[in-house]
Amino acid sequence: MDAPARARILVIEDERPIQQVLCFFLHSSGYDASGASNGQEAMQAIVEFAPHLILLELEMRPVSGWDILNWLRANFASPPPVIVLSTLVNLKEQMHGFEEGAIDYITKPTQPSAIVERVRAILAMSQEQRGMLQRKRLDEQRKTLARLYSTQRDEFAYLPYQRGFEEKG
């Protein structure tokens, strides 16, 4: 058995400086990191580079991160785990990301070291553990969403402000 090959990480990010910073941190942490700046490049790289893990920006044009997630699910029986990087903080967007197959969801800006930590943690997991993590995240998001919406609705119903509005309406 030769020494375990360095894990290959593909950073799909259309913002060059961010892509470079992340690649640098991953390299220096002992990973074989490669960057892709758009959807076409990414699809080609996934096939040729065969990454063990993908860091994916959702908001790209013309091919978006969502399209890549779909493409992965459609073309690979067991696609590599995907950590989504996004500027979107909306809970619904996050949940959608998990539903589309992402294993984790990191909102920008984040310290690159924190991202490297996530990468390390996920690569250390078995396939089953990853599946469990994904389900757990999805579940958490659902619960948070449900809680937020239910409390808001109930509490808002008794606000004096709301009452005043209703009377005027």
Binding site: P17, I18, T87, V89, P109, T110, Q111, L159, F165
Partner: protein
């Protein structure tokens, strides 16, 4: 039994005999007697034959042809004449008495000395007097008795007529429907006049025909709809001439016979009167006729009776007509108002323009009594009209219609900006699109075009097409104008809504992109700072760079909060939770276990204040973690909000050791002072924008002094640092 009779006979013979003796004597003195009677009457001759004096004289002298019966009969006849000519019986008898008195005084002169003959003469005179006056009175009485009977009969008949009229008047004024009223009327008339048929025809002014509306029972043509032209039959004759008709036997005239023979039995006697309403102008309403199966002459009374009935019918029908007209107009108005209300409501409640315009085209047609309608929209660049909605047109045709401004009635209406009405204009207008559809152009005659205007800007027009050859009434036109205004508002609303929606969509996309770029830029900055931090060996610089990354992340969190699409009012606890989420992840050190508590606080902050409050809370929490909780491994940071008299109070409370004094800004020295000063001065400046204030203080149990520096660790949980902002809550007005 026979003896008294024979006795009576012998007595009469005796009288007769002696009377004849007296008569013979008196006959010799006839001239004297005549003269004395002439004195009474004042005549120089006579007495005139047949007069009372003449009868008296003849009876007295016992003329041959003048027996007792004759005398009685003559005086009875005289009494009858007197009664029939309206003479007075007492005057007559007084006059008669004068003759008797004159004869009596003459007899005294003829028989100067009392004698049997004289007594007989006087007896004879008074006998004649008695029987004459008796006969006269009897004759007179007979006539007056007969007159009384006929008067009573007349009164009774008139009473019946009056009752009949009352009944007819009653049903005319009742709530009974017109046909029933007329039927009762014909029955009462037939009953009163003892006729077999009474019929009422109504006259239709437009079609110029009479239609049978009611009879007392018999119906012509086996109960079929029965009409007569003017001049046709006796009812038609009366309607045409406008005057009554009396015919003893209708079958003698072929025209009259044609109507009389339309019934199962032939009618002969006819009285037919026009029913005329004498209002502002005389108007023929119909004809009322009575017909008898026998030839008959109707009396003046009977004619008058039917005339009165005709008057009642005329007024009744006119009233009913007026009522129906008023009722119909009212119902129509209510219907129009309800429809306009519904149209307005739908325009206000829906943004579906197609639906609104479709409804307007439909309702405009229904309410104006037209057949088709069309709403055109103006393309201001091409100066051309196309169909937006229509009612009753062919869809293919409607989609192809293109009308230039100034062309056709619709184009001219848009050009002038004024409503226009025309009859059969498209036959002359070769540009008219209706010419392309012979099916439509054949049954359309008039068109009304009303421009759709909003703020003096013409958006298009609505056209109403009708099969009537006459123009619409001002009311109908006003109705269409109302619909045009509604349609114009609907089109304008829909355009404004579409513009707003597009603007919002664009704004949303731009906002998302902006958000993405800002966050990416911040991520780049954070990445570069992280790189710098890796490369430097100085722990001082490393720490400063780490804090800078934290600050960038804090900025990003605030940006998230502010750039969120639905940023408007937000609850205090929601704002705090978001800040805490970011601060917890980015600011606390891995070895620290800080518990964050956000207490429920449903106060809603207006959007402008949300931005500032978020930044303030961010700084307060950062301050609590970096300074309050410095050098501690665990603790609690609580965010608490409340409202007091319109002032919002937000506190960030940490269980750390806290600064030495209440406001440590000035006293702090060394490397941290600049940064700390920045955070606190940021809070003060920001809260100043909300007209609020900031305080930082230590709180604890009374037993524990805030000044304690040593041995204070045990009471650590009881002491806390409270940073607090207060600002007035100004709510957005919804009025």
């Amino acid at each position: 039994m026979h003896a008294p009779i024979s006795g009576a006979q012998s007595g009469r013979e005796k009288v007769t005999q002696s009377a004849s003796n007296v008569e013979q004597v008196l006959a010799q003195h006839i001239t004297r007697l005549q003269v004395c009677l002439q004195h009474v009457s004042g005549d120089s001759y006579g007495p005139e034959e047949g007069s009372d004096a003449w009868l008296l004289l003849n009876a007295l002298i016992g003329s041959d042809e003048f027996d007792n019966e004759t005398l009685t009969a003559r005086f009875e006849q005289s009494g009858r004449w007197l009664a029939e000519q309206g003479g007075k019986l007492d005057t007559r008898i007084s006059g008669f008495q004068l003759y008797i008195d004159a004869l009596a005084s003459e007899l005294k002169k003829i028989f100067p000395s009392p004698s049997e003959l004289m007594a007989e003469a006087f007896s004879h005179l008074y006998q004649v007097q008695a029987s004459s006056i008796l006969a006269l009175t009897r004759g007179y009485q007979g006539v007056t008795d007969r007159l009384a009977v006929s008067n009573a009969q007349m009164t009774e008949r008139l009473e019946h007529r009056l009752l009949a009229l009352q009944r007819i008047n009653g049903v005319s004024n009742s709530s009974m429907d017109l046909d029933q009223t007329l039927e009762v009327t014909t029955q009462v008339v037939a009953e009163q006049l003892y006729v077999d048929l009474c019929s009422i025809f109504f006259y239709d002014d437009l079609q110029r025909v009479l239609t049978l509306r009611a009879t007392n029972g018999p119906h012509p043509l086996g109960g079929m709809h029965f009409t007569l032209r003017l001049g046709e039959g006796y009812s038609g004759w009366v309607a045409d001439k406008g005057r009554p008709l009396l015919v003893q036997d209708a079958l003698t005239d072929t025209n009259f016979a044609s109507e009389a023979q339309a019934y199962a039995t032939d009618y002969h006697g006819i009285m037919s009167l026009p029913i005329i309403f004498f209002g502002n102008d005389e108007r023929l309403i119909g004809v009322i006729s009575v017909q008898s199966s026998e030839p008959r002459d109707f009396t003046r009374d009977e004619i008058s009776f039917v005339e009165v009935v005709a008057g009642i019918v005329a007024i009744g029908i006119e009233n009913g007509h007026l009522y129906e007209q008023t009722d119909e107009q009212l119902r129509r108005k209510v219907h129009e108002l309800a429809t306009i209300h519904r149209v307005s409501w739908i325009i206000a409640s829906t943004l579906n323009l197609d639906e609104v315009l479709q409804m307007i085209t439909t309702q405009a047609v229904h309410l104006s009594g037209a057949e088709r309608s069309c709403i055109f929209e103006l393309d201001p660049d091409l100066r051309r009209l196309h169909v937006l909605a229509h009612y009753g047109l062919d869809n293919g045709l409607a989609s192809r219609i293109q009308i230039d401004v100034g062309q056709c009635c619709a184009g001219r209406c848009v050009q002038t900006g004024r409503p226009s009405m025309a009859v059969d204009c498209f036959h002359a207008d070769e540009h008219c699109f209706l010419r392309n559809d012979p099916l439509i152009s054949a049954d359309i005659h008039s068109v009304l075009c009303v421009p759709l205007k909003v703020k003096q800007k013409v958006l298009g027009c609505i056209c109403i097409y009708s099969s009537h050859r006459h123009l619409l009434s001002p009311e109908q036109m006003q109705l269409v104008i109302t619909f045009a205004n509604e349609a114009a508002i609907a089109i304008d609303n829909a355009r404004l809504y579409e513009e707003t929606r597009r603007g919002l969509e664009l704004k949303s996309v731009l906002l998302r992109e902006l958000h993405h770029r800002v966050k990416n830029n911040l991520a780049t900055v954070a990445g570069i700072l992280s790189l710098q931090r890796r490369r430097t060996r100085s722990p001082e610089v490393r720490r400063t760079l780490a804090e800078s990354v934290n600050r960038v992340q804090g900025l990003a969190a605030t940006h998230d909060l502010l750039a969120h699409e639905d940023v408007s009012e937000a609850r205090v606890d929601d704002i705090a939770r978001k800040i805490v989420g970011v601060a917890n992840a980015n600011l606390s050190l891995p070895e620290q276990h800080i518990t964050f508590v956000v207490e429920p606080c449903p106060i809603v902050i207006p959007s402008r204040a949300v931005t500032i409050l978020a930044l303030v809370i961010n700084e307060m929490i950062s301050n609590a973690i970096k300074h309050g909780m410095a050098h501690q491994t665990e603790g609690t940071v609580t965010v608490r909000g409340r409202e007091e008299d319109g002032t919002v109070i937000v506190q960030v409370i940490d269980t750390g050791r806290g600064p030495l004094t209440e406001m440590p800004v000035e006293e702090s020295a060394g490397e941290n002072s600049g940064f700390e000063g920045l955070g606190l001065s940021l809070i003060k400046h920001l809260i100043g924008d909300l007209d609020g204030s900031f305080t930082l203080r230590r709180e604890g149990d009374a037993a524990v002094s805030a000044q304690q520096e040593d041995g204070g660790r045990k009471s650590e949980n009881a002491e806390r640092t409270v940073s607090e902002v207060r600002f007035p809550l100004v709510r957005r007005s919804h009025t």
